[in-house]
Amino acid sequence: MGETDTRKRGGEAAARDGLVTDERVKWAGVAVSVAFTLAIVGFIALVLLEYVDYGLLFAVVPRFVEAFVRVLRVVVISSVLAVTAGVFVGLGRVSRTSVTHAIATAYVQFFRGTPLLFQLFIIYLGIPSLWPPGEFPVGNWSFATAVIALTLNHAAYVGEAVKGGINAVPAGQMEAARSLGMSYVDSMREIILPQAWRNALAAIGNDQVILVKDTSLLTVIAFPEILTVFREINSNQFDPWTPIVLVAITYLAITLPLMRLVQYLEDRAEWGTQG
């Protein structure tokens, strides 16, 4: 009773809104989330029981597996390249050398400031047109375009995350490293970047998840990615729900393990906090 009284006095305004106690807020939260979950689960059950054609579903699984493998290859290669390049972009962004800083900044502004779709067109259509017709030497140009565009685009985002990570390392770390006689490069590599990496990991991981989803744009450069398969099946069978289920599973098969990997890397970078 007495406790409720103090709470009431502490939150006159809240009392008038009817959100008097934490209890009520808690139950409101439970009610809303349970209702939401039931609605979603009910809808999914309806779809799975009434609208999915399981004969078709199992027949087209191999096509999604192929798309999964193709997309995974692009994702792994682009992601590794984008993160590697992004570290250098980030270093350029914090550089006090004006040329380096200006170039890194212009790079980030262009690749973050224009759509990925446009960047795909520049590379896919623009580059081959520099050669006389029929003489462009690269065979699988859509795969190469996918890797180049995703790498260049996401290196800009990773670069910004790395820059933020570097700036969040206390200035005293560089001072301590330099006052031991270590060079700038050694100090960066040994002291600043490992800590910046830890600071930036969540943002870098987030960007890699977005990279996975950005592969859906590759359909415009004739790269048979996951949604390309969906559209083919939907337009032949007039059945959206069967391929929708497979699309969801295929994307999550890439993104969920990726999020796990990021979490694992974050946990590993907790140095010596009591566990």
Partner: protein
């Protein structure tokens, strides 16, 4: 030939020497015509109110701050010469910071071995042996594998001292090294510094610990508004200050 000469002059050349040093932060004149010499094996303690330029003075010695005029010499060698190799110079000057600045992703042992291995190219096992000895010396022989986050402030600061000593510096700079510590942890850090002083380390110490200044300092320097206002043996400066500024400061800290 020149090696022998350096050894010769070293004994009577001051370890650290400031000559007419002026330093500005933008418009603010933070060090004004500083003249100061720290002799070999001498412990000089710098005291003074906040903002008097004590820490800046210290940070100029290993060029964490640049000066605008004058000269600073270490064992006779100018460090303010633009031609000087600042990484080589810094190896001779150990520095300990107010906020420890240990490397959080490295264990105590790795903090201590990093610079000798990376900068000096000391073999790893040799560096580790020495680091273990140094950690034992500062009373942390059993914490070699701990990460900084697992150590108390006093323990972290003692690791930081061991880290600086690992480079065999000829002079040690201490920048308010007990100011960020809980009161009950101050003693253990001052104890390590007292031992160092007794072993004959040349030390330039900025501190608010008047007891330490009196007891361990060979000479005390009082700074105010960017100037050295009085300097002398601790007994003289603390018990019979000559300047009004010194009297005023000392009554306030007592």
């Amino acid at each position: 030939m020149s090696d022998g000469d350096v050894q010769e002059t070293r004994t009577d050349t001051p370890e650290v020497e400031f000559e007419k040093v002026n330093k500005y932060f933008g418009e603010t004149h933070v060090l004004k015509d500083i003249d100061l010499a720290v002799e070999n094996r001498e412990v000089v303690v710098v005291i003074g109110p906040s903002g008097s330029g004590k820490s800046t003075l210290l940070r100029c010695v290993n060029r964490l701050e640049e000066i605008q005029s004058g000269e600073i010499r270490i064992a006779g060698e100018s460090i303010t010469d633009p031609e000087v190799d600042v990484n080589r110079l810094r190896q001779r000057v150990g520095m300990v910071f107010q906020h420890f600045n240990l490397f959080p992703h490295k264990t105590a042992l790795e903090n201590v071995t990093l610079a000798p291995v990376r900068v000096r190219g000391v073999p790893k096992n040799e560096a580790e042996q020495k680091a273990e000895d140094l950690l034992a010396e500062v009373g942390l022989g059993d914490q070699a594998d701990s990460y900084p986050a697992e150590l108390s402030g006093g323990q972290q600061q003692r690791v930081a001292i061991a880290r600086a000593l690992a480079m065999d510096p000829s002079v040690m700079l201490f920048d308010e090294v007990t100011s960020a510590l809980d009161p009950e942890l101050v003693g253990e850090v001052l104890g390590v510094m007292r031992n160092l002083a007794e072993e004959g380390m040349t030390m330039l110490v900025v501190t608010h610990e008047m007891g330490f200044a009196r007891e361990v300092g060979d000479r005390v320097v009082l700074m105010s508004e960017g100037r050295i206002v009085e300097t002398g043996p601790p007994a003289d400066l603390f018990d019979s200050p000559k300047t009004d500024r010194a009297k005023q400061f000392l009554t306030r800290v007592k």
